[in-house]
């Protein structure tokens, strides 16, 4: 047996429609409409039928009553052919299938079908069974029943009793006695085929009307639901998918005032918020990235500084160790040199040789003092001084020295007093180092400008002093090394390469900073910053 199967694509399409909101609504409304219509239809048909039967019975009884009245004279005068003639005439009326008159014994006395005349019906005959089949209580009443013919159309069967009257038993024919109650029956079969046909027609018309009505209604509902629900929902769904894929600038164009319009508005507001949030996140990400890069750079710089200062510190420790060890043998060389020196009078070769030994030993001693200064112990004798005074005292010391005779020195103190808590002798040493370096860079000729001022950095106040010379400047290559110990550009024997290294250490220990700006060929500026002393309130 071949199995009935639906094309899977069609099946899917049907399922889609049934599961859709429109499909569900339509199905629900359709079922309600169908049920309502069916109920209405059944009720209407029932009512019509009841009315029809009621009217038909009334008509049938009138007809039978009419037959009784029409044959009354013939009965009283016992004119049998006339009665038969009347029955035949009336029985041929439209819709009358059969018209019979029975006597009280069940014999057909007259009939619209002449051949039936004289036939006696038994009590089992369907006509007699109407009354005799049941309890014979209604035998004396006019009765009716409905039967179907071979074609399926209904017949209304009316059975009307003929009661005995005085004119019946007193008539000249003397057929009936006075004690008889019922003299016979008039029976008529009336066809209801016309009504049945009309009802059938009506049923078809109503059914057709409902089908058309439901189809039109479904179409209208479908269109309305499509426009109001399905289409906006589809647009909303598309919008959500676009938003989910990241297109947050997309706007829904639904401008209805219903719930879907509200939903679209809320959706648009949501995408705006999401877009803002997304932008902010990206911005934050960028800021974070920048911060991380900045921090990384800071860490690298700090690391480089740390490595540099570690390098300087270990160099310092080594220098101190070496210097300390050398001090004692140097004491021996100098002492015995002097003792030997006394043994030779001036001008002799031996005396000159010994003088060279002593001179060089003294030079060693100076170098070692420099080394030990670089690696000096941390103890400081801090006092509150005016930074300008320290500068002045250094200048007073060097001003008249030969190296400074051709150097113009300009002083500019923007604040009369710059209080700093420092070891003034150490600071003295720093300023002296820088000024001597400046003089060397200018080769004894040029301008040295010294400025002091108050500066603010990261909410902290500093006293800053600037030494600007017009010397040969520092090359970019040398700039990296100027604070390293033993680095010098001065001729052998003139510089130990420790001055700036020592100065750097001293300023750092004072919580300050030493920086350099140089323009090779034009000059160099050294900036020294020290924390400004502030009285604790």
């Amino acid at each position: 047996m071949a199995k009935f199967s639906i094309n899977p694509i069609v099946k899917k399409q049907i399922q889609k429609i049934l599961y859709s909101l429109t499909g569900k609504l339509l199905l629900t409304i359709g079922i309600i409409m169908l049920a309502g219509s069916a109920l209405f239809w059944v009720f209407l048909i029932r009512y019509q039928e009841t009315e029809l039967i009621r009217n038909s019975v009334k008509y049938g009884q009138s007809f039978v009553s009419f037959v009784e009245k029409s044959t009354r004279y013939g009965m009283l005068t016992f004119q049998q052919p006339s009665i038969q003639h009347t029955v035949e005439a009336l029985g041929s009326s439209e819709g009358v299938v059969r018209l019979r008159i029975y006597d009280s014994k069940g014999k057909i006395a007259y009939s619209s079908k002449k051949e039936e005349q004289g036939t006696v019906l038994t009590k089992d005959d369907p006509v007699c069974k109407n009354c005799h089949g049941q309890v014979a209580k209604q035998a004396d009443l006019p009765t009716w029943s409905i039967k179907k013919d071979i074609e399926g159309y209904r017949h209304l069967n009316i059975l009307h009793p003929i009661y005995n009257e005085s004119s019946c038993y007193t008539s000249a024919c003397h057929v009936h006695r006075k004690d008889e109650k019922i003299l016979g029956f008039i029976e008529s079969d009336i066809s209801l085929s016309l009504f049945d046909k009309a009802i059938q027609k009506q049923e078809s018309a109503i059914t057709a009307y409902f089908i058309i009505f439901i189809v039109i209604l479904s179409g209208v509902l479908w269109t309305v639901l499509w426009r109001l629900v399905s289409k906006p929902l589809r647009v909303l769904n598309d919008g959500m998918q676009r938003a989910a894929s990241g297109d947050l600038d997309f706007k829904l164009k639904i401008e209805t005032r219903d719930e879907i319009g509200e939903l679209a508005k809320a959706f648009n507001a949501m995408t705006v918020d999401l877009s803002k949030a997304k932008k902010q996140i990206i911005e934050w990400g960028n800021i974070l990235e920048k911060k991380v890069a900045e921090n990384t750079q800071e860490i690298r710089t700090a690391q480089a500084k740390l490595i540099h200062s570690e390098k300087l510190a270990s160099l310092g420790r080594m220098a101190a160790g070496v210097a300390h060890e050398i001090n004692s043998p140097l004491t021996g060389i100098i002492t015995f040199g002097h003792l030997l020196q006394e043994k030779f009078s001036e001008g002799t070769q031996e005396r000159d040789d010994i003088d060279v030994i002593i001179e060089q030993a003294n030079r060693c001693s100076i170098i070692i003092k420099g080394l030990l200064g670089f690696a000096r112990s941390a103890s400081m004798d801090k006092t509150l001084v005016n930074l300008n005074d320290v500068v002045n005292s250094v200048l007073n010391m060097i001003r008249h020295k030969a190296d400074f005779l051709n150097i113009k020195i300009y002083l500019h103190f923007s604040e009369p007093v710059l209080p700093v808590n420092v070891d003034s002798s150490q600071l003295h040493q720093v300023f002296l180092n820088i000024i001597i370096n400046a003089a060397d860079a200018m080769e004894g000729k040029g301008t040295l400008t010294i400025n002091s001022r108050k500066v603010k950095e990261d909410d902290a106040l500093y006293a800053e002093i600037e030494f600007a010379d017009t010397g040969h400047g520092i090359t970019a290559e040398n700039m990296q090394k100027i604070f390293e110990p033993f680095f010098t550009t001065k001729p052998v024997g003139k510089g130990t390469g420790l001055g700036l290294a020592v100065s750097h250490g001293i300023i750092q220990e004072h919580g300050g900073k030493i920086t350099v700006k140089t323009d090779p060929g034009k000059g160099t500026s050294f900036f020294i910053r020290l924390p400004l002393y502030r009285e604790k309130s």
Partner: protein, 136 residues
């Protein structure tokens, strides 16, 4: 110079420093004794009398400051000179507060060491009376 021989004790862990002191000061009429450690110095001080003690600041066992304290506690009349490197000048100046006569920086010349020793011994002579009084 005084007619009495001035007795000097030098303490340094470096022999060359001791030798330098001896060679510079002996011709000046000082009787110079030299030892390498504070412990040796203290045991020698128990046995012999000295006018001036000259000690290095940095030594392995007992440092110059500790030795100074001990000497000043037991023999307050003895003048103590501190020998120092540049690095420890600050400590040396602190030592003066503890009773040291003066300090001298290494490397020194014979003239420098003679000068400071002379000054110390002169003061020692001044106070020698006090010491004698104490002993009586």
């Amino acid at each position: 110079m005084s007619e009495k021989t001035k007795r000097l004790l030098v303490i340094d862990d470096e022999d060359i420093v001791l030798l330098s002191c001896r060679r510079a000061l002996s011709p000046q009429g000082y009787e110079v004794k030299a030892v390498n450690s504070g412990e040796q110095a203290l045991s020698l001080l128990e046995k012999e009398e000295f006018d001036v003690v000259m000690t290095d600041l940095k030594m392995p066992d007992m440092d110059g400051i500790e030795l100074l304290r001990r000497i000043k506690a037991q023999w307050p009349e003895i003048e103590v000179i501190i020998i120092t490197g540049y690095q420890t000048v600050e400590t040396a100046s602190d030592a003066r507060k503890l009773g040291a006569f003066d300090y001298i920086e290494k490397p020194f010349t014979p003239a420098q060491i003679i000068a400071v020793t002379e000054r110390a011994s002169r003061r020692r002579m001044k106070h020698s009376g006090t010491r004698n009084t104490k002993k009586q």
